[in-house]
C-alpha cells in the first residue's frame, strides 16, 4: 500500500525528533482499554460455556441428575466409553471424509469462480456475484429440505437429471450414500464463503505483476501458478482454516437431510443427537455428548496449532 503522507513526514522531520518520545503516550493501558471489551466478552460468553461443557463430560449425567444435581464425578470414564464405543472410529473417519472433501471442493470451486469473475469485465458480473451469495441467506431448514427433495430416489430432480444421461437412479439418502449426499449439499453451502474471500484476495494482487509476466511470455496458466497462488497464500490459508473449523461444527444441514443416519453421522451430529435426545437415540446422554463435543474441540484446536506453527515458521 502506498503511503500518501511520506512527503508530509519529511516536512515534519525536525519536530518529529522532539515528538518521538511523545509516541510513547499510547501506553499499554490504552491498548488494554481498547481490547478490554473483547476480553470481558470472551471470558463471560465463551469461557463459561466451555467450562460447563468440560464439567459435564467429567460427571455421569442423566436427565434426572441434570435436573436435581448430584451427578457423580467419574473422571475420564466417559471419554473411555466414548472412544471404545464400536461406532466411534467409524464416526471419526466419516467426519474426516466429510470435512476434507467439503473443504477441498469448496475451495477449488470457490477459487475457480473467483478467478472466473475476476479476470476480465463482463456485464452483470457484480450482480451475478452477489446472487451467488444467496444460498447463504436461506434458513438451513429450507435449503436442507430442498436438497433432500432433490435427492429423492423416486421422484427427485437429481435422479431425473441423471436419467437424461442414461445413468441409473441413485438412492442418495440410504445408509451408505448418505455421507456423499450431505457432503454435496455442504459443498454447495460453502461455496459463497470461499468465493467472497478468495475474490477479494484476487483483487489485491497488483495487476502490473501480470502485465510484466505476460510481457515475459508467461502463459495464463503459468501466471496463475507462479503469481496468483503464492500471493493468495495467506488468504487461502485463513479461508481453509476457518472453513475447517466451521465444517467440523456443521450440524444443521446433515440433521435436516438425514438426522445423522447411516454414514452421515459425524462427531458434531452425534454430539447433537445425544445432547438433545434426537435422531436414532431418544435417550439423552449429556455426558457423552459433552465428551464428544470436547473431542471435537480438541481436534479443531490441533488444526489451530498447526496453523500457528505454519505462521511462525514463515515469519522466522
Amino acid at each position: 500500500m502506498t503511503t500518501p503522507v511520506s512527503s508530509a513526514e519529511t516536512g515534519h522531520s525536525p519536530s518529529a525528533v522532539t515528538q518521538r518520545p511523545r509516541r510513547r503516550r499510547s501506553p499499554k493501558w490504552v491498548a488494554i482499554a481498547f481490547v478490554a471489551p473483547l476480553l470481558v466478552y470472551l471470558l463471560v460468553l465463551y469461557a463459561y460455556p466451555l467450562v460447563e461443557n468440560v464439567t459435564m463430560s467429567l460427571h455421569r449425567f442423566d436427565r434426572g441428575s441434570f435436573v436435581r444435581g448430584g451427578a457423580p464425578f467419574v473422571g475420564l470414564d466417559i471419554y473411555r466409553e466414548v472412544v471404545s464405543d464400536p461406532r466411534f472410529w467409524r464416526v471419526v473417519s466419516q467426519t474426516a471424509t466429510f470435512t476434507v472433501v467439503s473443504i477441498l471442493f469448496q475451495y477449488v470451486i470457490g477459487l475457480a469462480l473467483a478467478v472466473f469473475f475476476h479476470g476480465g469485465q463482463f456485464r452483470l458480473s457484480a450482480a451475478l456475484r452477489g446472487m451467488f451469495l444467496v444460498p447463504w441467506l436461506l434458513p438451513v431448514i429450507v435449503s436442507g429440505t430442498v436438497w433432500q427433495w432433490m435427492m429423492n430416489p423416486d421422484s427427485g430432480v437429481l435422479n431425473s437429471f441423471l436419467g437424461v444421461f442414461g445413468i441409473d437412479p441413485v438412492w442418495w439418502l440410504n445408509a451408505d450414500n448418505a455421507l456423499m449426499s450431505v457432503t454435496i449439499a455442504n459443498i454447495w453451502l460453502g461455496i459463497p464463503f470461499n468465493l467472497v474471500i478468495l475474490y477479494s484476495g484476487l483483487q489485491n494482487v497488483p495487476t502490473d505483476l501480470y502485465e510484466a509476466a505476460s510481457l515475459d511470455g508467461a502463459s495464463s496458466w503459468q501466471q496463475f501458478w507462479r503469481i496468483t497462488m503464492p500471493l493468495l497464500r495467506p488468504v487461502s490459508v485463513i479461508t481453509v482454516l476457518l472453513g475447517l473449523v466451521y465444517t467440523l461444527k456443521v450440524v444443521d444441514i446433515i440433521w435436516i437431510m438425514t438426522t445423522g443416519a447411516g454414514s452421515s453421522q459425524t462427531l458434531a451430529t452425534w454430539s447433537y443427537g445425544m445432547a438433545f435426545g434426537k435422531g436414532a437415540s431418544t435417550v439423552i446422554r449429556y455426558s457423552q455428548a459433552s465428551a464428544v463435543g470436547t473431542i471435537l474441540l480438541l481436534v479443531a484446536l490441533a488444526f489451530g496449532v498447526v496453523y500457528l506453527v505454519m505462521q511462525r515458521r514463515r515469519e522466522d
Binding site: M1, S26, L45, L50, G130
Partner: protein
C-alpha cells in the same frame, strides 16, 4: 480491465446451476400441498395461498429479524473494531495469544454455547428478550470480525497514524477520525457476515427466545409450520422466499464494498 463479454452467458449458466435449489424453493412455494411431492419442474398446481398466509402471519417475525440483525452488527462492530485497532496498532501485550484464542473461540460448538447462555440469561433476566438474542448472535460474528479487521488495520500505514498523533490527537481520536473511516470496506464486510449469520441463526433463537411471542426472529416463525405430525412445506418455502428478499438486496448492494474490503491488509502477511 480486459472485457470478456463471452463470460456473461457462462456466468448466467453457472449462477443458474448454483441457484437451482432456490428455484426449487420458489417452485414449491407456489404449489398446492397435494402436488408438492410430485416433483414437477414448474408449479403446475399453482397457488398464491401460501404467500397470503405468510404475509398475514410472518411480518412481525421478519421485522424482529431485521432489528436483531442490525443490533448484532452494531454490537459486533462496537466490540471488534476497537479490539482490532488495539491488536493491530497499539502495544497490546499478548496479541498472539489473543489471536489464537479467537480461532479457538470459533471452534466451540454452538450447542455448548447455547446451553451455557441459558443458565446465565436465566439468572440475569435476559431470557426471551431481543437484546439477549443480539448478544448471543454476536458471538457468532465477533471472533471472525476481530480477525478480519485486525488483518486490515495492520495494513494501515504507520505514518498516517503518527502524523495524527504528532498533530496532538489522542488515541481515541486517531481511532475514530482516521482508522474507522479508512477501514470502511472491511467494516462493511464484517457487518455483512454478522448480519447474515444472525439472520440465519436458529439454535440461539430456539434456546434463548422461545417465549418471546411476536418478538422472535423469522427462523422461529418458520417453525409455526412444523407441527408434531404435520408440516406445511408450502408456507415454509414461501416464508423463506419472503425472508430472503431483503437480505438478497442487501447482498447485491454491499458486494461492491465487500470485494474491496475483505483482505486488503492480509497480503502484508
Amino acid at each position: 480491465m480486459r472485457r470478456a463479454p463471452w463470460k456473461t452467458p457462462v456466468a448466467v449458466v453457472l449462477t443458474a446451476v448454483m441457484l437451482f435449489p432456490i428455484y426449487w424453493m420458489v417452485n414449491v412455494s407456489l404449489t398446492n400441498r397435494a402436488s408438492i411431492r410430485r416433483g414437477d419442474l414448474i408449479p403446475i398446481d399453482f397457488t398464491l395461498d401460501h404467500y397470503g398466509v405468510v404475509l398475514s402471519q410472518q411480518l412481525p417475525y421478519l421485522a424482529t429479524s431485521v432489528i436483531i440483525g442490525i443490533g448484532t452488527v452494531l454490537l459486533t462492530l462496537a466490540i471488534a473494531a476497537p479490539a482490532a485497532f488495539g491488536l493491530a496498532k497499539l502495544p497490546f501485550p499478548g496479541g498472539r495469544t489473543l489471536s489464537f484464542i479467537l480461532i479457538v473461540a470459533q471452534m466451540v460448538p454452538a450447542v455448548v454455547m447455547s446451553l451455557g447462555f441459558y443458565s446465565i440469561y436465566n439468572r440475569i433476566g435476559l431470557l426471551n428478550t431481543v437484546p439477549g438474542l443480539i448478544l448471543a448472535d454476536s458471538t457468532i460474528a465477533v471472533p471472525f470480525a476481530v480477525m478480519l479487521l485486525t488483518a486490515f488495520m495492520a495494513g494501515i500505514p504507520r505514518e498516517l497514524i503518527e502524523a495524527a498523533e504528532i498533530d496532538g490527537a489522542s488515541t481515541w481520536r486517531v481511532f475514530s477520525a482516521i482508522v474507522v473511516p479508512i477501514s470502511r470496506n472491511s467494516m462493511i464486510t464484517a457487518s455483512l457476515f454478522a448480519f447474515l449469520w444472525s439472520w440465519s441463526d436458529f439454535l440461539f433463537a430456539s434456546t434463548l427466545n422461545r417465549e418471546g411471542g411476536l418478538l422472535r426472529p423469522i427462523t422461529m416463525g418458520i417453525y409455526n409450520y412444523i407441527g408434531a405430525q404435520n408440516q406445511e412445506w408450502g408456507p415454509m418455502m414461501a416464508t423463506a422466499v419472503v425472508a430472503s428478499i431483503p437480505a438478497a438486496v442487501l447482498l447485491v448492494v454491499a458486494q461492491k464494498y465487500v470485494s474491496a474490503g475483505v483482505t486488503a491488509g492480509a497480503v502484508k502477511d
